[in-house]
Symmetry: C3
């Protein structure tokens, strides 16, 4: 049977000199606590601490990295127990698991394979790789373990060495799970992050409903520009009370605007009246980034910008299965002109932190590193989504370090809803960063002592500082 | 005298561990048959089996990779025996060869040098590199060998271990050479591919003439939208009868459209009336990709899209020498918005295969891998044209594998009219792919056994599957 | 105390085979004379040969690579003794130096650290890296050495082995310093280069004043199209008399135009009347590139195009401190469509040389290498500005060589105003180029003998040929 990909030297360059250095660097950061400042785990898990049910529901059907790859090879989402828009799940979870197991070759050379093997080996104790032949063994054993106390959410949280994890909630979220976690007496630090997209983006299908809840939760007249901004201020305070130190903005582009108050008010009136066209909607999102930056200077929340994804590109799939089904495709993204209006307002502030992410690697060396290597408020988020991978992380360091240095970056984000893969993802990042540093040391571009300091900062120090944790 | 670049370890990384792995992987795929599903060899060679004449006419004057490099250094095309638009060839072929030989330093570090040395060494038996000093020896010996039966097209086809080769013909081609090949009793498999650009692109200088022939060959009224579509259907059947399993589309952009039948008919009326402006011409090409995709679902032909070349960029050169003179320059290419209209129609089909190529490497990780890693109908063609090179192939794997895997790619295309270089080109691809796989193995990201399976698939399995061969 | 990064093997790959080859290649080019055909040193230094004063004024406050990195981390430019727009310098230079010394960790992994360590070690004889603890020792010793004759500009020029250096002057520059240098009897070759941006770009804040001086210096009616062009011709001759062999053009984009004489004249009338909008200004810059190309064919000056920088992006900083304060951010740059109008006029010339630079690395393989690998007049400048770094230079070679070869490139430019770093910068380029060549040799893609020839050409031969020196 094939072995799991868990060699202790995995992801380390083969050259013996470099490998020796990376082993030393990695050994010193391997066991540092995990700080996860941006992700999409479900706070209900930690609030209720209910056990997960089976391998498919936990590992396969919510993970769009996995099922999109199978879908790309002609396998129907129904056969993978992916829920339809109306909640229907067609396949039996065990059968879906067998389909997944039978197509493991599709993941050769992908980060999913590395993450899965880490979960299978380090979390569940398997020693053989998943194949069609052992699919049922895998399924059964995972199910048995999940039924034990040691595999409940809080137990795994502790076992994983998580110092803090941030979830992401919409502006219309009551934050009940976070309240329940705080009141439970459990010591795990689970905080939220403020993601107001659905009350800002009038092209979002949930806009109307989210706005109504936003009004209820804040008691503000959110159809009035002043009331709308006040509602944001109030909710930001609610989120801060639930531990938030950051906001998050997933706009289609990085565009910002600097409208006069009167212009902004008039634009908002169109937006809430349902009279905004695509240009208005884009301009309003742009203006709101500048408004959010102003509020961040007041209340200290770190801003995160995650632009550049063309959401729900596959129309047929969206109609049948809804959002987040692996059909979000990156697009070319401009930052230089796009961010200028906001930077004209807040660019010289040393109070503000704006963390920039990208799905367009051509911007790393051309736009993002020069921007972050200049503006006090700008920092670079780690390699994101499709680029959260060994080659992606390597390119990120190779293309940003020489201009922005290490200290305009913010450590690692796992950005995942796949809770069990969190240790694997942080481990990959630590390995790849140490491998990059080791190359600099081997080429006499960095002292080994300095490399140790940087490795520690990338794994632990920078994230706490940048996210004010 | 300098040696040819034919070291058995060429293109293998220097690190001894990695080199050991790549030797093993390469040894297992080196001698697999060549399957060449996309290229531009002349079917007349195989139909007539006439001997080639001399080194210049065979190797230099038709190869725009070579003469454009010399031209870029101020050498006139006339001095390289490149035919003018009117057919005039100015230089004596031997003198042209001497000019070429005297400028070999220009090819240092280029794939042309690797391909040439392979041709010189493995095909013609030279042991010294080409220089000004041995130019005449080279010229004479090549000429003598070409006059022998062993160097006729069919003999070389067999010697090269070609299992199948596809040529490319326009929609107005009578396919006589392919008929002659089939009727000759020779066992070599030479098939065609349907390239209808000249009857689709009204900005093509051959449009009017091609359309007239298209009408003659099909007996359809091709100035009527229904007749025009029928003509395509008929010709696609003709091509299928000549072995075609694919179509090929070399549009300036990847743009597609999804017009209503009435809109499409009205647009076509403008196009055939000569009333289309540049916007209309682009929209018509876009709509035709969607029409071709629909036809492909019906008749099973695999679609290939080769967008993004600004053809005939050098006006003066085009006026004097015509097309395909090394003056086609890649441009920035969008796929995400461009393909959506077509994908809205056919995107969820599991019957269709659309193979995407690019000259814009910034799209590999950003657009192409995410698209191919999602849509069942999309696959990625190999590194193309300027990127059909060791560094280009390496970047292709590094930037696509983690998101699209290996199994959304389709093996290698040589895409060449330089028949003698075909073994060299496939050999380079096999070496570079094995080197990439060996790195993954050395870094414990892939089992060695899995790497062997992938190496075989990349060299042989995937091309047969993707192109339905 | 930490050591300086001056290991003799720095920047060489760790693999022993490759390292052996690169040592041999580098040893043969290490001590070649420095030819610096493009940069921004101050000719007054060489004209007056006055001593520099202290470490801060020489090394820190004029170097935007350094102070922008500190600024990006929240340190005020005032604290770094960077002059305000009105000339005010707030911080004491010694205190500024201490701030700089205390933040050396920000430069880990950056080329600034390599350049600084080379200056500290090779020029000033330090053996320990700069830290907060030895900041005063550094400051004192540098100050003492600068007061000695051995550290005056001309002495260092000779010690650095500079064969020739080009400065850059505006079209409104009287070239007095260059005259003084020539008349001084000193043997150092310091030449100028013609940079007419301020008299071409009506959006430049110095446009009006520069134009007035341009008129005075030439005696032409520069508000008349014919007179304006004549003034350029005259000034180009003045610059040629001051040793210039090149012009330089730092436009926001690479756009060129091919207007009729009447159109150009009408556009110019708008420009000088102050009636040009942004579109007119861009079109005029575009047309002037074509005019400059025409003049270059006449007078032999090599053209350099440096497009793609969004200048003065930080509005607040620009208002307070003015230009060149590390706030110029690269933007996406097109060359294929942009250069066509000019190439339609001069593209087939073998008399003209146009050297293209870019800040947009996505154009290397896609646009620039194919353009330079075709057009006789086009050559590629080296990795520029943010990309003048080990990783940047490596990517430049990896992405241009296979299509353009080595011989459509022009050697290294240091492009710096930091005179003391010039040996360091050329040394980094020689090391990185040799490392690239060594990899090709180790992978049997290039003969070692050929690699030696190329290494010499990249370090010395090509620059002299391309810049006609």
């Amino acid at each position: 049977m094939p072995a799991l990909l868990l060699n202790p030297d995995r992801l380390f360059p083969a050259d013996p000199t470099t490998r020796g250095i990376v082993r030393s660097l990695y050994a010193a950061v391997r066991d540092l606590p995990i700080v996860s400042p941006h992700g999409h785990t479900d706070p209900a898990w930690f609030a209720t601490n209910r056990p997960w049910t089976n391998a498919t529901e936990l590992l396969l059907s919510p993970d769009h990295y996995l099922f999109r790859m199978l879908y790309s090879q002609g396998i129907a989402l129904d056969d993978l127990a992916v829920p339809r828009r109306d909640g229907t799940i067609v396949a039996d979870p065990r059968k879906a698991w067998r389909v997944f197991a039978a197509h493991q070759h599709l993941f050769r050379g992908t980060p999913s394979r590395l993450w899965l093997d880490h979960v299978f080996g380090a979390v569940f104790g398997f020693t053989e790789a998943l194949t069609a032949a052992n699919a049922d063994d895998y399924y059964d054993r995972i199910g048995e373990l999940l039924a034990t106390d040691a595999y409940r959410p809080r137990a795994l949280f502790d076992r994983f060495g998580i110092e803090l994890i941030a979830t992401t909630e919409g502006a219309d979220d009551p934050l009940d799970h976070h309240r329940a976690i705080r009141e439970s007496g459990w010591g795990g630090r689970v905080v939220t992050a403020y993601r107001p997209d659905a009350v800002i983006d009038c092209e979002h299908e949930a806009f109307r409903g989210a706005l109504a809840t936003f009004a209820e939760l804040t008691g503000e007249d959110v159809h009035n520009w002043t009331g709308y901004l006040n509602a944001h201020r109030k909710r930001r305070q609610d989120f801060i009370a639930a531990g938030a130190t950051s906001t998050d903005h997933g706009h289609p582009t990085a565009r910002t605007a600097n409208l006069s108050p009167a212009e902004a008010e008039a634009l908002f009136a169109k937006v809430v009246a349902g009279a905004a066209d695509a240009t208005d909607a884009e301009l309003f999102r742009a203006q709101m980034l500048t408004e959010m930056a102003r509020m961040s200077i007041d209340d200290g929340l770190v801003m995160q910008l995650h632009p550049g994804s063309f959401r729900n590109h596959n129309r047929g799939l969206f109609d049948a299965y809804g959002r987040d089904k692996g059909a979000d495709i990156p697009t070319r993204t401009d930052y230089v002109a796009a961010l200028k209006p906001m930077l004209d307002v807040v660019g010289t502030s040393t109070e503000l932190t704006v963390i920039l992410f990208t799905l367009d690697e051509s911007t790393y060396a051309r736009e993002l590193a020069p921007l972050a290597g200049h503006y006090p408020c700008l920092k670079l988020g780690p390699a994101w989504w499709f680029h959260d991978s060994p080659e992606g992380m390597r390119r990120f360091r190779e293309m940003t370090t020489e201009t922005a240095g290490f200290y305009n970056t913010v450590g690692f984000n796992d950005d995942t809803r796949a809770f069990l893969s969190i240790p694997a993802r942080h481990d990959v990042a630590r390995r790849v960063d140490c491998a990059f540093l080791a190359r600099l040391v081997a080429e006499h571009r960095l002292d080994e002592e300095d490399a140790h300091a940087v490795a520690h900062d990338l794994a632990y120090g920078l994230v706490k500082q940048a996210y004010k944790l």
